[in-house]
Symmetry: C2
Subunit: 447 residues, 2 copies
């Protein structure tokens, strides 16, 4: 049901945008939407509509919407805003979102915005801003409720009743010493179901290992996934409680990680609805790199130019070897990138994977080299040409596997992300090997 309503609304909004006289109607529709719906509406609109929607959102709502947007788009919008506007917009945000936004600003603007904030907000921020955005410390919120171990459950119940409004999505409260050292978790459900005369110490759960503020966000995501957590406490290296992470703050991390790899493999680095100007710039980058590598491949072919004068069909068959090598290498590279992203590559299974890729390429190499021998012989009735292509095929498929596996390993060693540059480099290598081996053998056997 929810889906239908929101897609109906979406169409309605787009129609309203098309008619500028309905501007006040647009504000009214937008006012009723949640920050997340607004963020997704902006994300999925072409640039011009994005601007109209953004300008129609009320100032006190802008902060929440900013908190829900993709980083790239958020930073674009922030660039257009004045420090005063930013400080007003973000003052009601949860501290983790607030700090994300401040960290995205140029340092000068950050200081201006901080100076414009009230001291309460500045205080909240100072606890979190020093943690890197991609660490548990950067993900956490500081709105935790803490109690002491020696209190009774009854006293805790009264304390919560006194607080009246608990922070959003509070499922656990935490037990700490008077120096804020973490002792354990007291689930809200336990407060309800336990004997009210028992002490917190008797009821609390001490088995859960709190998260270190330095843990990387991907590890935090994996931990939540592995242990079916709704929330978890974050501590510093002295085991002092700093805050808590809730599952809604980390739910997207898994998808974002794979998404980065997907974009890298498709050689796009942009948000889907970006402007033509942005897209052109972005694509030109990858196309230029590809042009460069294609020219290298062409240069390698030109070494054998005299072959074509005598064996015209070498030019016909040549792309087959290169293209098979390219596919095989992309497959192996894809496997490597996925294995690495799962963060479980160690010496032992690295060796297994390498051996397997080698065996797979050997078997497939033999299969396809026999197959292409038959096709070529049937097609051109030229025994030497068929021999040349089948040797080139098996060599290129094996090199595709070895290279598709060792190249990302080497790229990582020297500090590059294999997902981003791996594809272009490896297909250049397989193109080169495909062309040179095939044409080399032809010129040796045939010419």
């Amino acid at each position: 049901m929810t889906e239908k309503i929101s897609s109906y609304k979406y169409e309605l909004i787009q129609e309203t945008i098309a008619n500028p006289e309905f501007k006040s109607k647009l504000s009214n529709i937008l006012k009723e939407m949640t920050a997340n719906d607004l963020a997704s509406l902006i994300q999925n609109s072409p640039p011009q509509e994005r601007k109209i929607i953004w300008d129609s959102i009320e100032l006190e709502y802008e902060g929440e919407v900013l908190g829900e947007l993709d980083e790239q788009l958020r930073d674009e919008l922030l660039k257009e805003m004045e420090p005063e506007e930013i400080s007003l917009a973000i003052s009601d945000l949860e501290v983790d979102d607030l700090v994300d936004i401040l960290q995205a600003l140029p340092e000068k603007i950050t200081n201006d915005v901080l100076a414009l904030m009230n001291s309460r907000d500045r205080g909240r921020i100072e606890n979190v801003i020093d943690f890197p955005e991609e660490s548990a410390g950067g993900l956490m919120n500081t709105d935790v409720i803490t109690v002491r171990a020696e209190n009774t459950i009854e006293l805790v119940s009264r304390y919560l009743r006194f607080l009246k409004n608990l922070p959003q999505n509070t499922d656990d409260i935490y037990v700490v010493t008077k120096n804020d050292e973490y002792l354990g978790i007291l689930p809200i459900t336990k407060i309800l179901t336990s004997d009210q005369n028992m002490t917190v110490r008797e009821v609390m759960d001490t088995e859960f290992e709190p998260i270190s503020s330095e843990l990387n966000e991907v590890d935090v995501y994996d931990l939540f996934k592995a242990k079916d957590l709704f929330s978890a406490p974050v501590v510093n290296d002295k085991n002092q409680l700093l805050g808590r992470i809730t599952v809604d703050d980390i739910i997207e991390i898994g998808a974002d990680e794979v998404q980065e790899d997907f974009r890298a493999l498709a050689q796009i680095e942009e948000d889907v609805f970006s402007s033509p100007k942005k897209s052109i710039k972005n694509r030109i980058f990858w196309l230029s790199i590809n042009l460069f590598t294609a020219i290298i491949a062409a240069a390698s072919i030109s070494l054998f130019a005299d072959v074509f004068e005598k064996v015209v069909y070498a030019a016909v068959l040549m792309p087959i070897v290169a293209s098979m090598g390219g596919i095989a290498a992309t497959q192996t590279l894809g496997i490597y990138i996925r294995a690495e992203a799962m963060r479980k590559l160690n010496r032992k299974n690295f060796r297994y994977l390498f051996r397997r890729e080698f065996i797979v390429s050997l078997v497939n190499g033999i299969f396809f080299s026999i197959f292409i021998f038959g096709i070529t012989f049937f097609w051109f009735s030229d025994y030497n040409l068929a021999i040349a292509i089948s040797i080139a095929m098996i060599l290129n498929l094996i090199m595709a596997a070895v290279g598709g596996f060792l190249l990302p390993y080497i790229l990582r060693k020297i500090g590059y992300d294999p997902a981003i540059s791996g594809g272009v480099i490896i297909t250049t290598i397989t193109d080169l090997i495909g062309f040179v081996t095939f044409l080399g053998i032809v010129s040796f056997l045939v010419v």
Copy 2:
């Protein structure tokens, strides 16, 4: 901290496996691990070690591990198990995991397993098994606590205390009529902080729209993400409460969706650590398709074989045009697949994207055709060859954008997933257009 311990353990386990005399030691280590750690250990181990680990897990634990495994691997393990073993292993599972496993079995085995279960378990299952695995109904658990609106908070508190152990991760209980019709949510925190003499009706939250049992799992994931939910009630079309979905059951859906697209783009369809036999079969499929399309491209080249006799350098330059078209088409296809996966493609922004891709390809086409004209003229000092390649380049880049955008649209219309087959088809098209336009123009201008 968690990360270090688990990777230390992982190495330890692999060493233990290598020494068969330590078999009892292995069971002891495995006994201390959570089901999810075991599942991830199996997932990240080569086939032989997988078997040793699986055989060392105690029967009553196997069910939980099965529940945490990737579908593909889970189904493989289930195939080796007897119905008796399965029914024992899965009897303690949550009902959503239990039903997932039953649905994965061949129908005959499912009936055998059901017959071996006790009536309590059979009863739990019958409420859920009719829902498709990928719907809200298939994701939900039925272990919900319900109360009536006319009761006081005090009575609810006493009822919960009487229940003693609430289902895992209970953050809300639900308010229903005597016919099980859904009325609202009563958060556990509200029970704690509200005046005990108020009625449930006065305290409950009626704003949240319950999830329809038919909602697709991706929409469920989006809803949880948009509204920062920990859990949500599921109703049938008569608004009767059926169960609830908790965030831990849906946290992986986002990543799984992108992962499928990634695998499709890399043309791999297997789990990372699958056996050589599986990998060979799988890769041969994609390589064969590629061989077929490469031969089509070669056949198109052979139409112009006489060109090479006169213009040898045509063979040198030919792959450049094809390869640029392939990259540009993959970029546009990648954008389309991502936009579609975000489930926000509608008529309006479809048109925007198509127009943008066209403009981008036109601008880049002009840029690269001028560029390649210069390079070719500088390299071979052949004016006609330079003209031919620059015309072929601009045509191929524009066709790459148009095809890269319309092809997935058409594939979807006729019922195919563009992520799976789109890449191969579109690069075949750009290869063909690249070769034919370039060689055609060369044979017209030069020969």
